[in-house]
Symmetry: C2
Subunit: 513 residues, 2 copies
């Protein structure tokens, strides 16, 4: 079902008003079809307050590109623009501009390079390079940022939780806590970044993953209200789902009622030839309760049932739970490693909202304009030095050291291939006193990160499956030093400028001042 | 344009998997059509870390109800459920349940009461009361929470910013920072809560508000790259939009370049008979720069042009800016009151994500089941006392004192009307030692807050316009004591239980233990 008007509000008018007023200015100035280049990049890793990311996982490209390929100014959109007026009541958009938009208001002139989804990415590195007619490249900004900023933010959070959980199963639970149907994009990003499944039925279906879930407190309440109690609820559930029986044990009292009742039902199931799946803890001290639950389940002969933890989980909580289990479980006769390997994490709010850092600061900057023959670099100065972007049409290389670890991302100009140079100078993007020299014998590989996605509007790239994106993510994360993956105060990965790019940037800053 | 599969992922399958497995259990137990009642309420005000809300603004109802009226299990949905398997590969959903869903899988049996949008609301007060067949009332949970939690969160944030800004114009700028197309819901909520306009073109159009915006840095960069500089950019813009000329002045240097160039162009405009609209500041120390900008514009003869502030604005920043202006502006010969009244705020990230509190903790709890004749109250205990909900079929009253200020929200059972009672005992929801007695002579009005929206699926309510919701919000906020509206450490508004409800709750807690 679609709400009235959603076609219009999710199509090409899913943009900011100033993109349209600027586009009209380019049109009246006669530069609307001038070839331009914009870079989309983020400035800093998500900082969650008490903890910080040292890498991001790129996501959202496929949805952004599909939006581009399906969006154009049609009758409805033109009609709306024609009705807009300025403060004096005069039409804001002129007929000649609207006529041009009717005909050319689409993304068929856009050529786009991008870093594929699932890859580890870092600040100030262009995730997307957009080349094309100035007016349409400008109008693209808002939606491209919207679609890729959010998914990258969520894929990053999922990767952090998955990594801290030592690869244990992670299930996305955030439907009721996100931004309306925007949560569907979050589910996709979570699946790319590290979630194994989601509870969200529709989008899981669309993406080809089975949705996951068992039961909530209300089911137990219903049976209690009918006088059959928690045990009656568990029995009814087990009878209907004998091979998928995972019971939520905290509706009344976890240790005194929930787990003992679950064990009764698990024993009954086993007598009928079925193995129970596990229990879910959704409140209280999850570290302590999971140890007690494991002790009780072990003793009852169910040492391998899963223990699903939910309620305010994030990577810091996972870390705390694992640490406490390692310290405390032996005192209760529970093997910590075994317990940690039976845990499953259900994460709602903190994943779907990336709590603490609810937005990625991705921006879209004009870096070059064509003079008909060459790209002329462009720059915007800024009150804060870090915000001055890197100008010009650039390439992005990931440099691997002899251990096969990624040691730096390098931005270069032109056709330079770092793999073919004896000695690379890596410039700190801001501080001219900081640079690093890498000799060719220290380098095992220089890998170009940008791939061509669109060639004048034509898709020239095959979108990988989410499974392939996940493999790519795992491969990239294996190439990160542990310090970069640390969830608190991570080591800073080097993003560097080549000698030529550094010089160009200084030159442009100098000439603008 | 719609993405493939979006019909399915935004319709009735926009729910959590456990709603469906529970619904099937109710079906096999034969209680799926048992009349049940669920309350949707939030447990606590948003806490942004350094500041906290003392009230919320209710929003999202219309979108939730329209979703309900348009969502049902159709062929595509049933096909998907039929294909789902459990761990052993057997179908998870049985034919008889799916047949029932095909026929009755819609919300036509639901009766719903709700507090209207735009109203001030408080924790533990039911925003929505859902009555209907157990299985479908259960399935509704996820989407209802999704649609109302987020909009209430954002309407609340917008109200706080608008109130702190002393009613100055507030424009929503968050498209690029929110969760995919979920931002459209955020725009609607912001408009209800206090934003005057949004930059988001499509949804503004759908909702009947003109989108707002002027130009970005890239436009200035384009003219710089063409050798025409910032002044050339401003001139071109002013020529095209002589009566809507608002210039972004921080691309190069705000005080040395941007404002002087803007003044040149403003003078040219005035000579041609047009009045400039204003300038926008998007970086640096906004308080300091707005004072300097005002001084320069005043001196140049433009004392009434707007000064739009954007970049990391929230209510705390607005408060700081206003405080600093009041303290510092006179030193620069600028009248602080006049300056404060020419400010306009453009708010992106912090509004659309409700930064610091990116989710409202709204929950949906079974409070009663019908025995065919009466509602039998239901409760869920919890490890933490505050999480035990208020049972039974309740009414919600807002009690106003003699000054016309709202003094408490009162939850009652049955037909009691607080306006007709000599003396009301207001019980603290948790602490039996805390209560308050209100005599009838202290009360000016007792207002019922819940309105009937759906009667067995039929809409019996006329949705107010956003303008009407805004008026309601202003009216309700005028009835709040200043301490409740304070943006830091607000005074706690009383949400109380009637004597009967308090006794019922204690009785149920006692009988469950």
């Amino acid at each position: 079902m679609k709400r009235k008007g959603s076609q219009t509000s999710e199509g090409i008018l899913f943009t900011d008003q100033y993109q349209l007023t600027m586009a009209q200015l380019y049109f009246t100035t006669g530069i609307h079809e001038k070839e331009s280049q914009f870079d989309h990049f983020f400035r800093s890793y998500p900082d969650y307050g008490s903890h910080q990311a040292g890498y991001c996982i790129n996501a959202g490209l496929e949805w952004a590109v599909k939006w581009m390929m399906n969006s154009r100014f049609g009758e409805e959109e033109i009609k709306h623009l024609r009705a807009q007026t300025g403060l004096t009541g005069e039409p804001l958009f002129k007929d000649d501009f609207l006529n041009w938009l009717s005909e050319y208001g689409n993304f068929e002139g856009i050529t786009m390079f991008a870093i594929p989804e699932g890859r580890v990415v870092h600040p100030n590195v262009p995730l997307n390079v957009v080349q094309g007619p100035l007016a349409m490249a400008q109008i693209l900004e808002s939606s491209l940022l919207n679609k890729i900023n959010y998914q990258t933010l969520i894929a990053t959070k999922a990767a952090r939780i998955k990594d801290t959980a030592r690869g244990q199963q992670l299930i996305e639970f955030g439907l009721r806590r996100g931004q309306d149907i925007g949560v569907n994009a979050g589910v996709r990003a979570a699946l790319i970044g590290g979630a194994d499944f989601s509870s969200n039925v529709g989008i899981s279906h669309s993406l080809g993953y089975p949705p996951k879930g068992t039961h909530g407190h209300s089911m137990v309440q219903v049976f209690m209200a009918m006088g059959e109690g928690e045990l009656g609820a568990f029995r009814a559930y087990a009878e209907l789902y004998p091979d998928d029986c995972l019971l939520l044990v905290d509706t009344i009292n976890t240790l005194q009622s929930g787990i003992p009742n679950a064990i009764v039902v698990f024993e009954e199931l086993r007598r009928k030839g079925h193995e129970p799946v596990g229990i879910r803890l959704d409140s209280g001290d999850l570290a302590y309760l999971s140890i007690q639950a494991a002790a009780m389940l072990d003793k009852a002969g169910f040492p391998d049932t899963k223990i699903v933890l939910s309620n305010q989980i994030d990577e810091l909580v996972v870390w705390q739970i694992i640490t406490q289990i390692e310290e405390e479980a032996p005192r209760f006769g529970v093997d910590p490693d075994h317990l940690i390997k039976r845990l499953v994490y259900g994460v709602g709010t903190n994943l779907i909202t990336s709590k603490g850092a609810p937005a990625l600061d991705g921006v879209y900057k004009l870096v070059a304009l064509s003079n008909g023959k060459d790209w002329m670099p462009s720059i915007k100065l800024s009150e804060s030095r870090e915000k001055t972007h890197n100008p010009g049409s650039k390439k992005v290389w990931r440099i691997y050291d002899k251990r096969g670890k990624a040691t730096a991302d390098l931005l270069t100009l032109g056709e330079m291939n770092p793999a073919q140079i004896d000695e690379i100078i890596l410039h700190h993007p801001l501080d001219h006193t900081k640079y690093r020299i890498l000799k060719s014998e220290e380098i095992s590989k220089a890998e170009p990160l940008l791939e061509k996605i669109l060639d004048r509007g034509k898709l020239v790239y095959e979108f990988p499956s989410i499974e392939d994106m996940r493999s790519q993510r795992e491969k990239d994360m294996d190439c990160l030093d542990l310090g970069i993956k640390r969830i608190v105060n991570p080591h800073i990965y080097h993003v560097s400028l080549s000698e030529e790019l550094w010089n160009l940037k200084q030159e442009l800053i100098g000439s603008t001042k």
